[in-house]
Symmetry: C2
Subunit: 150 residues, 2 copies
């Protein structure tokens, strides 16, 4: 699959992704480096917390989502480059053993006013587990290259 | 420093953090696992891209920010637990050798309507480099425990 320029996207278009399984070791390893809190580090310690058991850091979920997004068929020309993100939330915790995949929906497409070679794509990115439950949703404003200026 | 309950925070309060230096190796290692794109993986390949040189993944910056936040004097009771995030943006790229620190400002405090033991704190979290330039800003809605219900 070749890269898509701004002109190749249409509003309402959706893209799926591959799947990625997350085990307890990966959850603890990420947490030890970036989010060292009991509910992300240790099953026993997690029980008495707001999560009621081991759960991945939300920032681990954003990172895993990016991996799935970069390797999906979405492929904007110039790469997946975020300008800003809104409404990032985690409706459910990512638990050990969950298998994730990502759905990307194109919400809006607009050329840049100041830079004719660029444009912006607004996307809704939903990360789902094996039960097809949303564990993360965000709205991303991504940069994309325009074909007419390559 | 002991934990702070919802009642211990006031609007306008700010918290600093320690500092964390990020080298090219750390940038590439994170990217190889979570955001394998040329501008995050290789100095040479990064030159011809929108970044004009090696830059960290934005999701690496969110993860490093969390590390600094968790270890700062902010310390909400029950941990740093995000309910949702808005207006996440990266005004400048995180470059190899940058030394980061975080500033957290309390914007809003409100008890939960449905769960008397909880409340929400809205914070503005700014991640700065050694030149005191903002490289990341977001608005976070965090969960905090209420002292009255412990």
């Amino acid at each position: 699959m070749s890269e898509r320029f701004l002109e190749d996207f249409t509003v309402g278009q959706t893209f799926g992704s591959g799947r990625l399984r997350v085990d307890a070791e990966a959850i603890k390893r990420f947490a030890a480096e970036f989010d060292p809190q009991p509910f992300h580090l240790d099953e026993q310690a997690a029980r008495g917390t707001i999560f009621g058991g081991l759960a991945a850091s939300g920032w681990h979920t954003t990172a895993l989502t990016m991996r799935l997004l970069v390797e999906s068929e979405f492929k904007p020309a110039g790469g997946v480059v975020g300008a800003s993100f809104d409404e990032l939330r985690w409706p459910q915790a990512l638990r050990p053993g969950d298998e994730l995949h990502v759905e990307t929906e194109i919400l809006e497409i607009k050329p840049s006013k100041s830079r004719p070679e660029l444009g912006f794509i607004k996307v809704k990115v939903t990360t789902l587990n094996q039960a097809e439950e949303a564990i993360q949703i965000y709205i991303g404003n991504l940069v994309a290259l325009r074909r007419s200026h390559v």
